[in-house]
């Protein structure tokens, strides 16, 4: 448990991606099986561990300490798992010589073998035998919330770095393997052959697109690419093999139970990639309904017949990964599309249709088409290389997504906070506001916070402004001068805007970022809250 606990302690506080990769790769190299496999599972969210209720932990800790002292401690620390990890030893404790510290693998095995009545005693015993850092790791695992800023993808990338293997190879195998992944590690370390996947209809990691950035398309020949609409549904994978049929979300969650209407209609064998939507297929001439209608069907364990009737689901297919048992991912997209078209043609018309291609001859033309889509449920276009193989992950080059333009406003910098890691000597997190009418004339009201979108050179400019114009300090935060005739105007871009009761301004932005520094503008020229409210209302109507 010690190695995993130390890893967690470091990962939580390491902001840089490369730093995290290094820590993870070192852990995988230095930790034996099966501990490293369970550690990997814990990070990737595939660890199945008997859960422990916070109420039980609280009872256990109060067996050994005064309730008032516990409350003072919890108020100070603010996190239950961390408080218990720290207060568990009332006296200074020396480990008995020869007493082995429990290993992660042993902890997982023991917990999962427990009957309901044994949990209390086993948890108490484990807490006694672990040191504070390992205790914290155990409590986080057992209460089910690691939250340390490591995605499954990053963990797999670290496996790739530690072994020199390609991450797409790992992705391809991933969903067919189980913790503690001993066959995977043996293969990665060159001690065994590539593991053979036995389970039918498993999830295969999906291929992702990059957003179109400034100048990305300039040197690309439109003739090498196909375009199709990007529908506002959710990405799904249908997997059918023999009598097993599954519907997975893009992250590999099995959502079959919520969509019997789609599952029952599958009459093909293989793996198909598409967009899950609600409404009717193009082939039945019925309209595609909005994302909020689709939401009625999402995140359900079961579904009523009334729901099935009111919100019928279907899949708009855009790719095929397996035809029967044959892996056709290496074939070019153009060929996969032809095979997909045949497969969909024979599938039930009311549940499946083919995502149509959007013809275009130049990027300019596609831009015009994108701006004026024929259906309100379209959120942009997808651009895919005709010769691209289907590769798991987000490769730059073969696939692009070109979404609607983001929203833009001019706002005024109000507060700045120091960043982390590389940026810890820079004020790099900015709270910005827009004007609104107050009791004594116009005042700025904060509407969001952004910490990226600017270049390093721009950060120098922003940092200098903050240091030279600080009006107040609150710990790591500084308030800066923000007056109609003196201040810093930021052009803020964001993906969406909603009403919010949690923010004083009444609005919340999605993914705000600093698009440009507008030193050419005075704060008095910045936007007003009314402009943002109008954006919300336009969206609602």
């Amino acid at each position: 448990m010690r190695a995993f606990a130390t890893l967690l302690d470091r990962l939580v506080l390491t902001p840089s991606r490369n730093g995290k990769l290094k820590l993870l790769a070192d852990y995988f190299r230095d930790t034996p099986d099966p501990d490293r496999g369970y550690g990997l599972a814990a990070l990737a969210g595939t660890l199945d561990l008997k859960s422990v209720k916070p109420a039980l932990l609280r009872e256990l800790v109060l067996e050994r300490m005064d309730e008032v002292l516990f409350r003072y401690s919890y108020d100070y620390v603010g996190d239950l798992a961390e408080t218990i990890a720290l207060v568990w030893d009332q006296e200074r404790k020396e480990r008995m010589p020869g007493e082995a510290e429990p290993r992660l693998g042993a902890v997982v095995t023991r917990m999962n073998a427990l009957g309901r009545t044994d949990v209390r005693g086993a948890v108490r015993d484990l807490l006694d035998r672990l040191d504070p850092s390992a205790r914290f790791a155990f409590l986080k695992l057992a209460t089910g919330g690691l939250r340390i800023g490591v995605s499954a993808r990053l963990a797999k990338q670290a496996l790739a770095e530690f072994s020199g293997m390609d991450v797409t190879e790992i992705e391809t195998l991933w969903h067919g393997l189980q913790p503690p992944y001993e066959s995977l590690f043996a293969w990665l370390e060159g001690q065994a052959d590539r593991p053979v996947l036995a389970t039918p209809a498993i999830f295969h990691s999906v291929m992702l697109a990059n957003p179109v950035g400034e100048g990305d398309l300039d040197n690309l020949d439109p003739a090498d690419f196909a375009a199709e609409w990007k529908w506002d549904g959710i990405r799904v994978q249908m997997s059918s093999s023999g009598s097993t049929r599954r519907l997975y979300s893009r992250s590999g969650d099995d959502i079959s139970a919520a969509f019997p209407d789609v599952l029952d209609a599958i009459n093909f064998e293989g793996v198909v990639d598409g967009e899950l939507l609600v409404g009717g297929t193009a082939r039945t001439n019925s309209p595609t309904r909005t994302f909020s209608d689709l939401q009625q069907r999402l995140n359900r364990k079961t579904v009523t017949s009334k729901m099935l009737e009111a919100f019928p689901a279907f899949v708009r297919a855009y790719d095929v990964l397996f035809e029967g048992e044959a892996d056709i991912r290496p074939a070019p997209l153009a060929e996969r599309r032809e095979r997909l078209a045949d497969l969909i043609e024979k599938a039930p018309h009311d549940r499946f249709d083919l995502s149509p291609l959007v013809p275009f001859t130049s990027w300019q033309e596609l831009e015009t088409i994108r701006r004026d889509p024929p259906d309100p449920v379209i959120e942009g276009v997808m651009i895919k290389r005709l010769d691209s193989a289907y590769q798991a992950g987000r490769m730059k080059g073969p696939w692009f997504k070109w979404k609607r333009d983001p929203f833009n406003v001019d706002a005024v910098m109000m507060y700045a906070q120091r960043g982390h890691g590389k940026r810890s000597s820079y004020y790099s997190d900015f709270t910005f506001g827009v004007w609104t009418e107050g009791p004594d004339g116009d005042v700025l009201v904060p509407v969001g916070k952004a910490y990226f979108g600017f270049t390093d050179a721009e950060l120098e400019v922003l940092d200098r402004y903050v240091r030279d114009n600080t009006t107040e300090r609150f710990g790591p935060v500084r308030a800066v001068r923000a007056e109609p005739a003196h201040g810093f105007v930021l052009e803020v871009a964001f993906e969406g805007i909603n009403r919010s009761t949690r923010h004083k301004s009444g609005v919340a932005m999605r993914f705000p970022r600093i698009a440009r520094l507008r030193q050419d503008k005075l704060p008095a020229d910045a936007d007003r809250l009314e402009t943002l409210m109008a954006m919300v209302e336009a969206k609602e109507s």
Binding site: D9, R10, V12, L13, T14, P15, G19, K22, L23, D26, M65, D66, V68, L69, F70, Y72, S73, Y76, V77, G78, D79, E82, T83, L86, V87, D89, Q90, E91, R92, P132, R418, G419, H420, G421, K422, S424, S425, G475, P476
Partner: protein, 336 residues
């Protein structure tokens, strides 16, 4: 005699009416007794100051030779009469020169411990228990959550990180009096003998520690001669934490911020401070040390000052010991 006739809290600090002196006053007074050199305890501008030799020297380094009217050095254990009250200084184990002050009259003895710790620290004289009727204890880490680990194991984390990230400059935040020298000494005791770079503000205090026989190894100024940040690749740089938020820190290669402090026990504290590598090294008692000390001394009464007073008072009550918080203001934990 009641204890608070001998010593009582006043706006300027703990005051002894019979001897007409204050202990660690937070504003200028005619006569001050100082426990140790941290700036919240040792302030400039008093009339007469009585303290250990080291504390007087440290105050002179920090505030200039004329930091007070007259000064008198107290030898450890020496009994000094002040207007019929006997005072004596005893080692507190906090930083170099730190002392507890015992105040006695008519068979009643109160010990004002100042800041103290029980853990091993080669940079100062170890704490010595002084039997007393009233024990005045600090409570900086007075919550059951604080269990300071072995400082050598914490130093080991820094050495591990240097091996894992050999290209990054490791910036270790440590307060300039006491903690910085202790971290330097710990690194040397763990076998790290490469040059260590120090921020300019540490230089004079480090020199002073060395002059008192505490070897710190090869220390060099963390200044850039030719403006090449790769000079500090893989180096350890020790400085006050405030400097790391400053432009000063930009001269280093991909800095990795470490912070040596008892506060680093709490993950959120580390995270909020932008610390990547927390080192739980404290110059104060942790919870078991505070409670063990009180048990060992078994005073008639415990007075609790600066820190998390309510938890320690609660613990004393549960143990059947009369205790009360002093509510003194003006003591922040510069030292940790």
């Amino acid at each position: 005699m009641k204890p608070d006739q001998l010593l009582r809290p006043a706006p300027a600090g703990l005051y002894c009416p019979a001897g007409d002196f204050y202990i660690d006053p937070v504003r200028p007074v005619a006569r001050a007794l100082i426990t140790h050199g941290h700036s919240d305890h040792a302030r400039a501008g008093h009339g007469a100051v009585l303290a250990t030799r080291e504390t007087l020297d440290i105050m002179a380094i920090r505030y200039g030779e004329d930091f007070c009217g007259t000064m008198q050095a107290a030898a450890l254990g020496e009994r000094i009469d002040l207007g019929g009250v006997t005072v004596s200084f005893h080692p507190a184990g906090h930083v170099l020169g730190s002392a507890q002050i015992a105040v006695e009259q008519a068979g009643l003895r109160i010990v004002a411990s100042g800041d103290y710790k029980r853990g091993a620290d080669p940079t100062c004289t170890p704490y010595e228990p002084v039997p007393c009727d009233v024990f005045i204890t600090e409570a900086t880490f007075g919550l059951p959550v604080f269990h300071h680990p072995d400082p050598k194991a914490e130093t080991g984390k820094l050495l591990t990180s240097l091996r894992q990230f050999p290209e990054r400059s490791h910036l270790v935040g440590a307060y300039s009096l006491g903690k910085a020298q202790r971290v330097l000494r710990l690194l040397r005791d763990c076998g790290y003998d490469a040059p260590i770079y120090i921020h300019g503000s540490l230089a004079r205090l480090c020199d002073y520690y060395v002059s008192r026989g505490i070897a710190l190894g090869d220390l060099r100024p963390a200044t850039l001669e030719k403006g090449d940040p790769t000079d500090f690749r893989g180096a350890v740089i020790v400085g006050p934490p405030s400097a790391f938020a400053d432009r000063w820190a930009r001269r280093f290669n991909e800095p990795l911020i470490a912070f040596a402090s008892g506060w680093m026990m709490i993950r959120q504290r580390a995270k909020q401070g932008g610390v990547e590598l927390p080192l739980v090294i404290s110059d104060h008692c942790d919870w078991p040390e505070l409670t063990e000390t009180i048990r060992e001394l078994a005073p008639r009464e415990v007075w609790v000052t600066h820190g998390r007073e309510e938890a320690l008072v609660r613990w004393c009550e549960l143990s059947g010991l009369p205790a009360r918080p002093l509510h003194l203001v003006g003591y922040e934990d510069e030292g940790d």
